[in-house]
Assembly symmetry: C2
Homo-oligomer: 458 residues x 2
């Protein structure tokens, strides 16, 4: 071999290994920083305990907007701003109450909560017989004659056999989102839905439901019942099929109100016109304080920018954090952001969302072409020391999804899913259910992926 | 190609894929069974809440022995028996108390607990100045003149930057196990050790400590202080280096008492003389109820045999569960088991231990030759659907380790480690810190590995 070629090859091999070492040490610095000096846990403590549940259209949602804007400003980003968006306003009201009443006259209270978007019951409540079913399809089989005037009780549990609990959720949540809309067509008086929870406990889990085109006057109340309550009602129905269920709730829909996405960015040093987005949703349900859904994602996304600044890393692309408003019951923030970004002609190279809880990170799911996914998979080696190994194809997340048509590569952080639905949309989704290290590992994992995208592109 | 050879190859390929399908479906049946019909969670509820903490030599340890024997008998194993073993008896006593007393006369109580095996303080307690150090090596530098009559405060935290928290533990636990033994040589009056806990909270964490060859009359009391307490003491020492620490505890060592390993087995259909062992330790510390350490491992090990019986799988090798007594403060059960098994000339092909908490399983560590480890790694594909991917070389576990010299392949279940030291050896290691699905996934993962060893051998 020519001596010069040999030397050039040696230099190239050296540079390559040097670059790999640099990348590895940079990624280690994200983990070290997050686990020792990260802000995510303290931020979440504030968001959860000092602000609390922050449903779109609530005062707390506004407090969260102003707090997160101020915290981003304190980081010294190049720019921080609010993006106005009109959001739905639904208010739970001041009572929710339900009981099972046996034919013999005995009764027992059961824990329920109104589903988000539901109408109220009449002031005197609704008292009716119950038909327990497992799926929306059964409504057609049972038929209007039998259903009219009754309460439909959707009681198909989440499938415990699916290892990824998000798959179990997907397989059951139609009862919650569409159950009422369909049951109305068969004359039901109200719907009761088994909580989307794999655990047997006393917490009802709320969540969005939609009436479709059903006129306001024809809408019926919809509520979630705790898993223990659902089991009790189901077993009581076997003993006493004529039992009555009583339900009373005074939730209400109001006209839309003004809210905001909260946005901050570090301008790219080489490609300022190409945006790398990291984000989560700032709103939460009103039960609990939304620590896992999605306070964790909010503070992790903020932490990514904090890490770039604290560690003195100048991103080549513009690094933008977006805290979306109204993921839970409307996705208005996500839609508005995508609409505005299109108007402005902005290009998003990549968007990463964290909206699956603050648990030990296991990997990412990617929504991209196979060519890009295969390239991304080469980065898995950098994550091995951190026990991050699940790189799969799949959705990125609800808030970044509207960016897909413009060619953005999407990714979602995938934490361990086992505990998520113990807390999801329920009053026990609170700060004490957060493990500091798990949260911080998630933030570092996100910073690392963002760094790799910024360094190598696609 | 000769037509017959071609047909033979086809048949062989078919059989191979058939066999692979069979294995996959059998493994799926373990997960399905564990997540829907498993006994592990109910068993652990009993062991934790109805029995509770079960330190060697305590009445609760005996209750745990008889309960687990009865439960194994109820499974219909071929044989269930108790293996007698003499174990240490150490009793915490009825008070533990400590306070920081400033030079100005102010004082504040701090949470402590005696370390297992420690002697008591004199009845009137010990009041002395405190020397804070980070490692045992510092004792030599500071020297006997300065140390004499003082309390040595070991305050080196677990390293938060290590991703595997067991590595952090290994890097700090010498302060607890050996701190007193060495400090005695320099005239210390007592030792106080920062709790082995990555979280800042108010729970002191106990654990074993040893005096080595130090004579009984020369032994000094050793206690753990909560991480919050350690941080407070450390910051107070900076303000007031002459402050006094007061400590009083009346724990006591008693003569050894009789206890038992609990053993059950299903005889192998083809190789009854070759044993596959699955086990955990039945004893726990006296604080909390030992749900994670090691109640989880106990019920998971029992569940493996339950699964083989419930699913009608006849193991080719003898499948034996061993619930070891006295892992925490003596390993007497493990030593006795290995001693007896050697006497009887038994051969253990494989031993699997679960003693790292009931958290989401991530993989196994294997103590074997490289040839066998490479063979085992080929089984990783069977675990992919269950997000089990960490196969590493390393220790199997403290209780099965004495089997190593006889050539047994050892393995330890490796669950996610992030939360373990929040609970380890502390009064918050209780049943409410157990997630049912995480526990059950661990049991199914263990059954699957045992099944693969039984099917393929090494």
């Amino acid at each position: 071999m020519n001596r010069y070629i040999f030397i050039l090859l040696l230099i190239s091999a050296y540079c390559h290994s040097q670059k790999k070492d640099d990348i590895e040490s940079q990624i280690k610095s994200f983990y070290d920083h997050s686990l020792t000096k990260g802000k995510s846990y303290d931020w979440l403590e504030h968001l959860s305990n000092q602000i609390g549940g922050r449903l779109s259209g609530s005062l707390n949602a506004e407090r969260a907007v102003f707090w997160s804007k101020e915290e981003l400003e304190n980081l010294g980003l190049d720019r921080v701003w609010l993006e106005p968006v009109m959001v739905p306003k639904w208010v739970r009201g001041n009572f929710e109450y339900a009981s099972i009443e046996s034919s013999a006259g005995n009764s027992i209270n059961v824990p329920i909560c109104a589903l988000g978007g539901s109408v109220a019951t009449p002031n005197k409540g609704i008292r009716a017989e119950v038909i327990e079913i497992q799926s929306i399809d059964e409504l057609e089989k049972i038929g209007r004659d039998i259903i009219t005037g009754k309460i439909i009780f959707f009681n198909r549990p989440m499938d415990p056999k699916l290892i990824n609990t998000f798959s179990s959720y997907s397989g059951s949540v139609d009862q919650r989102t569409r159950g009422a809309e369909v049951a109305i067509k068969y004359g039901a008086k109200a719907v009761l839905v088994r909580s989307m929870n794999l655990k047997n406990d006393d917490f009802p889990h709320t969540g969005s439901m939609y009436y479709g085109n059903v006129k306001l006057k024809n809408r019926i109340p919809a509520a979630a019942i705790s898993t223990n309550g659902a089991n009790l009602l189901s077993s009581m129905l076997k003993l006493d099929p004529k039992l009555k269920f009583f339900i009373k709730q005074n939730c209400q829909n109001y006209p839309d109100v003004l809210s905001h996405n909260v946005i901050g960015e570090i301008k790219g040093s080489l490609y300022p016109e190409k945006i790398i987005l990291v984000g989560a949703h700032l709103d939460s349900w009103d039960l609990g304080d939304g620590s896992h859904d999605d306070g964790a994602g909010v503070v992790q996304s903020m932490e990514v920018l904090n890490q770039f600044i604290s560690l003195g890393i100048k991103p080549k692309h513009t690094l933008r954090v977006v805290l979306f408003m109204n993921e839970e019951n409307g996705l208005r923030g996500a839609k508005k952001y995508a609409e505005n970004t299109k108007k402005k002609g902005e290009f998003h190279l990549f968007a990463l969302e964290s909206d699956a809880g603050g648990f030990t990170p296991r990997g990412f799911s990617f929504n991209s072409s196979d060519i890009i996914f295969n390239k991304i998979k080469l980065w898995k080696k950098y994550f091995e020391p951190y026990y991050i190994s699940e790189f799969s194809k799949g959705g990125g997340g609800a808030d970044i999804n509207p960016l897909k048509p413009s060619g953005t590569v999407l990714a979602g952080l995938r934490p361990d899913s086992q505990r998520y639905f113990d807390y999801h949309h329920s009053s026990n989704d609170t700060f004490d259910a957060i493990n500091k290290r798990e949260l911080e590992l998630g933030a570092a994992t996100m910073s690392s992926l963002i760094f790799l995208v910024d360094t190598f592109g696609f």
